[in-house]
């Protein structure tokens, strides 16, 4: 099977796997224990925290380990139920791990405004400013969109929030490892991260919480993570996460270059094969290697099935809904017609893909479309 769905998840990096294996084998101690076995685990945990903090230019005390990026989002959003100002501003193209959570928070007095985006998927800082209400207590806007790869103007958005004194959260799950991300450069209060999107293990993530920003624990019953996340820490997973984050930042330029190269091969091969395609997302403000491609006159569910049958893994933003495909809400929010919407595949390259593989993918797509 040839895998082109790295925005969904990534294969584990061998160095990360080696780290998880060695920690699992050699260090089973509970980091809360005071004996030597516990101390060793705690040292691994705190070393992982330092590695991650350094990678994103943060302080160690600003890193809270969680079970996933989704959990990190939830922790920030659920805290709103206990705030005085309970209005949240978000965008229409957020992941369900933000939008669905906000919907579920309505009975707890949390209201929200979802900002529209332009045809490239960008949130306009002026629109953000206009949407601010006296009781706005949080702004949550993703950095990189998971379907089209568009990068929001984070500095400008955060500036608007800061000028009004409103805490800013960003779901940065799709950003780390694909675009520079520094807590020094972007003065947001919270960032959510996940390990498995950057060649790390599943079931582990972390929240960056700037010093002084408030957070109510989502999971209670223990003093771990400075009372912010109860439960014995997933030490091997966290060690793997730290290694994955370290590699993602240390090798960022290499990885970006590789992805850009695969992308340009993909696009030039598509053009050579005369495939009628439209690329969605911003032409410049986007991460490399995430391609949202609409195939004129095709249906994504059919394309997906046929590619799957031939051993190619890609995905689409559309889901099974009424009829055979339900249009993707993200593409719909970008003003893309329904016909184009349901003809769209997301192809996301990764570090393991080769130009040869990309050529095979294009030729498979070409065969399906041209018959």
């Amino acid at each position: 099977m040839l895998y082109f769905d790295h925005s969904a998840t990534t294969p584990i990096h061998p160095d990360v796997l080696a780290k998880i294996q060695s920690v699992s084998q050699d260090h089973f101690g509970n980091p809360s224990s005071i004996h030597s076995s516990g101390r060793k685990s705690r040292a691994i945990l705190e070393s992982a925290r330092r590695t991650i903090a350094e990678s994103i230019h943060a302080e160690s005390s600003e890193i809270v380990f969680t079970g996933s990026g989704t959990e990190a989002n939830n922790a920030v959003l659920w805290s709103m139920a206990q705030r005085e100002k309970r209005h949240v501003i978000t965008s229409m193209v957020e992941h369900p791990a933000v939008l669905k959570v906000l919907q579920k928070l309505e009975p707890f007095g949390v209201t929200f405004t979802a900002l529209s985006v332009d045809s490239h998927g960008l949130v306009d800082p002026k629109e953000l400013e206009k949407a601010i209400q006296p009781d706005t207590g949080l702004i949550s806007i993703m950095m990189v969109n998971n379907e089209v790869g568009t990068i929001n103007p984070m500095a400008s958005l955060v500036k608007v929030a800061q000028s009004k004194g409103i805490p800013f959260h960003s779901d940065t799950v799709q950003a780390l490892g694909k675009t520079p991300l520094s807590a020094k450069a972007i003065h947001a209060d919270y960032f959510s991260f996940s390990a498995h999107k950057l060649y790390g293990p599943k079931g582990v993530g972390f929240l960056f919480k700037r010093k002084g920003a408030s957070l109510n624990p989502l999971i209670l019953g223990g003093s771990q993570e400075s009372n912010l996340r109860a439960g014995t820490e997933n030490v091997p997973g966290i060690a793997g996460l730290a290694e994955a984050v370290r590699l993602a930042t240390a090798r960022l330029e290499n990885r970006r270059n590789h992805l850009s190269e695969l992308e340009s091969i993909f696009k030039s091969e598509m053009a050579t094969d005369n495939i009628d395609v439209v690329y969605n997302g911003h032409p410049d403000y986007r991460v490399p290697g995430v391609i949202s491609a609409s195939f004129q006159g095709q249906r994504s569910d059919i394309l997906l099935a046929k590619l799957d049958r031939q051993g190619f893994a890609v995905s689409s933003g559309s889901a099974c809904g009424s009829g055979s495909v339900e249009p993707s809400p993200v593409l719909a929010a970008m003003g893309i017609s329904e016909a184009q919407n349901i003809s769209t595949l997301r192809i996301s390259f990764g570090r393991g893909n080769s130009s040869q593989e990309v050529k095979k993918l294009v030729s498979a797509i070409s065969n399906i479309i041209h018959g």
Partner: protein, 359 residues
Amino acid sequence: MADPIIVGISGGVDSSVTALRLQQEGYDVECVFMKNWDGEDDSCTAEEDYKDALAVCDHLGLPLRSVNFAQNYWDNVFQYFIDEYATGRTPNPDVLCNREVKFKAFLDYAMELGAVKIATGHYAQIHETDGSFQLLKGLDPNKDQSYFLYLLGQDALSKSMFPIGEMEKTDVRKLAESSGLINHAKKDSTGVCFIGEQKFFKDFLKKYIPAQPGHIQTVDGAPCGEHDGLMYYTMGQRKGLGIGGGHGDKEAPWFVADKDLDNNILFVAQGHDHPALHHKYLVANQVHWIGGSPPASLDGIAAKIRYRQADQPCTITDLSSDQIHVKFEHKQFAVTPGQSIVFYAGDQCLGGAIIENRN
């Protein structure tokens, strides 16, 4: 990989074994789960069924996709179902679901996905002779479902497979169990799929059709109670009439014999053998022949006027139009307008029609 057979999988044991058998025979098999009803009622078990289908497909290593035909089902099956009930008839939505959804919308979808054929877990068989396709009864006489498939045509049959049609139900369950399918003991679905159990039927119908209570009379004209609305009753129905002792002169049960829609009267007759409950003739319309045209010979044919009924010898006395006249050798109990009459020559299902009237 070769072009696949696409199995319509429901999460039940029959369609699961359908996929299993095809896989065992060496076909490339893929599965599709159809969601045909968007209700949030408790009776709708779609979510649970999907989980079962997914567990089976994961166990067998088969891809599972899901497709939603709820709008199609609503427009082409449910609307008809409601319209028929509103006129006091007793429709059979499963017959229509097969024609409109499973062997049309699903079939088309599967072909778009690149299937060579579709397969379903129906107990029926398809035989081909010289490019013409015959629908035969399922091997298991207790489970034969050809009755529900009589509206299929040559095109649908040429693209369909019923791999368990030559199996006994008990063997289907045994095979499911020995192959480790988690649903090997799952209860068969009963009743109309979107309503669930029969006991919810009245409440369900009430949501869509206003009930008009009226009088109950014996077929001789004697008043004997009130009904809740003619749509709730079907010919030959015995339970739920609310006619206690004191009516009639013997201890025999009462049955629904007829409906007078214009005057909103429900007619009942006492005793299963009452002549008002039995008819030798019926008129049916919307005739469909599986072969595409009426069979060359109608000698020795038989019919079922309800699922699982034994074949009843009959003759078609007038075949000149879309409407047919049927004469049975023996009188038939509770001939029900709206239900289907399905014709057989031995084990071959020839086609059928919708019962319009009887006498």
